[in-house]
């Protein structure tokens, strides 16, 4: 054999459709990954009418664990592409999404990024799509909490690093651009003691505090903000994480205004009902819609494009479909996925909290600014 050989991609109309899913089965994001795959299976079932076939072609799914490590994800993606997969999906972690996207472009295969929220995936290249929301959409939702931002004082509290940078930039652009003065308090992601930051926030006396914090120290952070009286002195907005994390907000939970990507009961669509019926446990969570949408996109791509990736792209660009959250639209210019977003509040105590939707924003209302396609 020759070293440059890659397994032939097929094209045979009866051959199974090969789809590779590279996501976190282990590692820190394993539970996001779990929701993603459950959603994906449910979505596949929904989109193929229970046959798991597209036309006559069976769908052959290969799942690979990346453990949240881009290097492993890249290896897996190369392996899958080498074996003739024309569609790669998954990417629970932003780092993985960012590094797999160029691989997809270099090898001209379709890549549908999963829960990874980084804005940088949008418009990164024409082969890359996303089945989840992005940070911008969170921030746009956050803006909806303060009515007219003009003259208001907004503070962003975010962790160091790209995630925090992206949120700070988005708030400056979206809320600051609308007339508010935005300042930022940043803290190391590894911080364990938050009093200095809480003091800084408090002395800034903001009208709105936008918190972008991910990771295991979040409960300690909330408790400190609560203890130092930040939560009771201003409107505090943050993203609502997966259901399992709700009790960790503790008493702080009921004092926060949440923007939400999704929670069980946020929508009442046909897809949501189907998904609820199909997933283990019957309760939807944050990232089930992402997997579900990914499956819908895969089916659409294969139906319209067969094995021709260019055709798949054309089929997906501008496509609107009914997902778990409601109407979703793939914006043709930069492949952003326009989708409804929610305002929510938590009630309850101890281990049992309930989220209630206060308001839903439509996909257009929550649309992020358009990016130029980079590649």
């Amino acid at each position: 054999g020759s070293p440059q050989d890659t397994a032939n991609g097929g094209g045979d109309s009866a051959a199974p459709v090969k789809v590779g899913l590279v996501y976190s089965q282990s590692g820190a994001l394993a539970s996001y990954g779990k929701q993603y795959i459950e959603g994906f299976r449910a979505g596949l079932d929904f989109a193929t009418g229970g046959t798991n076939k597209i036309g006559d072609r069976a769908i052959e799914i290969t799942e690979v664990d990346d453990a949240g490590d881009p290097a492993k994800a890249v290896s897996a993606a190369k392996d899958l592409i080498g074996k003739g997969n024309k569609i790669i999906a998954g990417s629970t972690a932003s780092g993985v999404a960012l590094q797999v996207a160029p691989i997809a472009a270099q090898n001209k295969v379709l890549f549908i990024s999963g829960p990874a929220a980084t804005d940088a995936v949008t418009g990164v290249n024409k082969y890359t799509f996303r089945s989840g929301r992005q940070s911008y959409q969170d921030v746009v939702t956050a803006r909806s909490f303060i009515g007219d931002p003009t003259g208001k004082k907004v503070v962003v509290f975010a962790q160091d690093g790209a995630f925090g940078d992206a949120n700070e930039a988005a708030v400056k652009e979206i809320i600051g651009g609308a007339g508010a003065t935005v300042s930022a308090v940043r803290a190391p992601a590894s911080a364990t003691e938050f009093t200095p930051f809480a003091s800084q926030i408090k002395s800034a006396k903001p009208d709105l505090l936008f918190v972008a914090w991910a990771g295991t120290t979040a409960p300690a952070m909330w408790q400190t903000l609560d203890q130092q009286g930040v939560l009771s002195s201003t409107t505090v907005v943050t993203g609502l994480d997966i259901r399992a994390s709700w009790p960790t907000f503790g008493a702080a939970g009921t004092k926060i205004s949440f923007l939400s990507h999704y929670f069980d009961g946020a929508s009442d669509t046909e897809a949501a009902t189907a998904a609820k019926a199909k997933i283990p446990g019957g309760t939807l969570d944050l990232f089930h819609p992402d997997g579900f949408a990914a499956a819908q996109m895969v089916v659409r791509a294969v139906q319209e494009g067969d094995d021709d990736v260019e055709k798949m792209i054309t089929a997906l660009e501008g496509w609107s479909f009914e997902g778990v959250k409601g109407t979703m639209t793939i914006r043709a210019e930069d492949h952003a996925l326009l989708q409804p977003m929610y305002q929510a509040s938590l009630t309850g105590s101890g281990d049992t909290f309930t989220a209630t939707a206060q308001k839903a924003l439509t996909g257009d209302e929550a649309a992020p600014p358009v990016q130029a396609m980079k590649g």
């Binding site: 453990a67 160029p102 992601a189």
Partner: protein
């Protein structure tokens, strides 16, 4: 107590029982044979089920092998510090990361072509190692380990802070392939990356062996045993350690360049102290201070690290009862268990297996002959 015990060096070959004449004549050529096999391996469509996912020449397999080879080289370079000079550095990841991020930033952010970025990144790694070493080598033993760890930690913090958006923070920085020769881009060209990794490994092994058999290498071995004595002999141990430290740093940075190309980007995983710890594990797993041990250790470690993940999600594991399948589907659980078992079952590392196998072979060979 603060002295780190340097690893014991395996006894010279005399300890190995005499081997059959034909074999001993072949033996020096064994590395060449292995190298030749490694070179032609991408032309084989052999399928080894259970060992690799696809055929030997499939991109997935070659990619995995390339990563393994880079870490084999990295471990061999680290052994120059640890096994041969007795310096326990916990910050070797820093120079590797300097190579990876240096290349990536110079290509992606600055826009340099690879042929300019790579040497700059390596020189940067060497300078960094020289500077850090100049400070850290004023301490010895555990203190030295901790100072190197501290510097590496600063590196990790800087990468995570994402100053000026240079490093991409926790999301990492995908490599902009515009600056990279097209022969190194795309799945179909994975084989070139494989050869690149192989070349890196060969260079590192050659350099390490050459250096440790040089007069300097002799001094380094002396430093490992008794640094004070080296001073009284009229040599400045500090200078020699600094040379070894800088050289090892440079080799690691070169490995970083190759790794950056193979993976197509940089991610903050590689700045963590865990990477240094795993280098240490690789070296100990293979056999510190031995010729091939660290290389084998590095290759095996990375292989397990990547493969256990797919084993963990395989059907065979799922079929087991929950109390078994749950932990076994955690790759880190399996990897950790492997380390522990390796310590007890291969003391002295993989390299100590060879003499033991030779003993076994002799026993088997002598047995029948005596009867006849």
């Amino acid at each position: 107590m603060t002295e780190v015990k340097s690893p014991e060096v395996t006894a010279p070959a005399a300890a190995v029982p005499s081997e059959p004449a034909g074999w001993s004549r072949l033996r020096p050529f064994l590395p060449l044979v292995v190298l030749a096999v490694a070179l032609i391996l991408p032309y084989s469509t052999l399928h080894l089920p259970g060992i690799f996912e696809g055929a030997l020449n499939s991109p997935g397999t070659l990619q995995l092998l390339a990563v393994c080879l880079v870490f084999g080289g990295l471990a061999a370079g680290y052994d120059l510090l640890f096994g041969r000079t007795g310096m326990l550095s916990f910050g070797h990841a820093l120079y590797f990361a300097a190579g990876v991020y240096g290349t990536d930033i110079l290509i992606t952010r600055v826009g340099l072509p690879l042929w300019q970025a790579a040497p700059l990144a390596i020189v940067g790694g060497i300078i960094l190692a020289g500077l850090v070493g100049a400070v850290a080598l004023r301490t010895v033993g555990i203190a030295f380990a901790m100072v190197t760890l501290a510097f590496a930690q600063v590196g990790a913090i800087l990468v995570a802070r994402d100053f000026g958006g240079l490093t991409g923070g926790e999301e990492g920085l995908p490599l902009d392939v515009a600056g990279v020769p097209s022969g190194l881009v795309g799945v179909a060209n994975t084989v070139n990356l494989y050869w690149l990794a192989l070349a890196y490994l060969v260079v590192v092994v050659f350099v390490v062996h050459r250096v440790s058999n040089s007069p300097t290498g002799r001094v380094l071995a002396g430093v490992r045993d008794d640094e004070r004595r080296i001073g009284v002999l009229g040599l400045d141990p500090y200078r020699f350690k600094l040379v070894a430290f800088t050289l090892a740093g440079g080799l690691a940075a070169a490995g970083g360049v190759v790794y950056c190309l193979i993976v197509g980007g940089a991610s903050p995983h590689i700045t963590s102290s865990e990477l240094t710890l795993s280098l240490l594990v690789m070296v100990v797993l293979g056999g510190p201070g031995t010729r091939w041990g660290p290389v084998l250790g590095g290759i095996l470690y990375m292989y397990l690290d990547h493969r256990l993940i797919s084993v963990g999600s395989s059907g065979a594991i799922d079929a087991l009862p929950a109390f078994l399948s749950r932990p076994l589907s955690q790759p880190l659980f399996v990897l950790g268990t492997v380390f522990i078992l390796a310590v007890y079952f291969f003391p002295g590392g993989l390299a100590s297996l060879a003499p033991r196998l030779a003993l076994l072979r002799n026993a088997l060979r002598l047995g029948p002959r005596r009867e006849s």
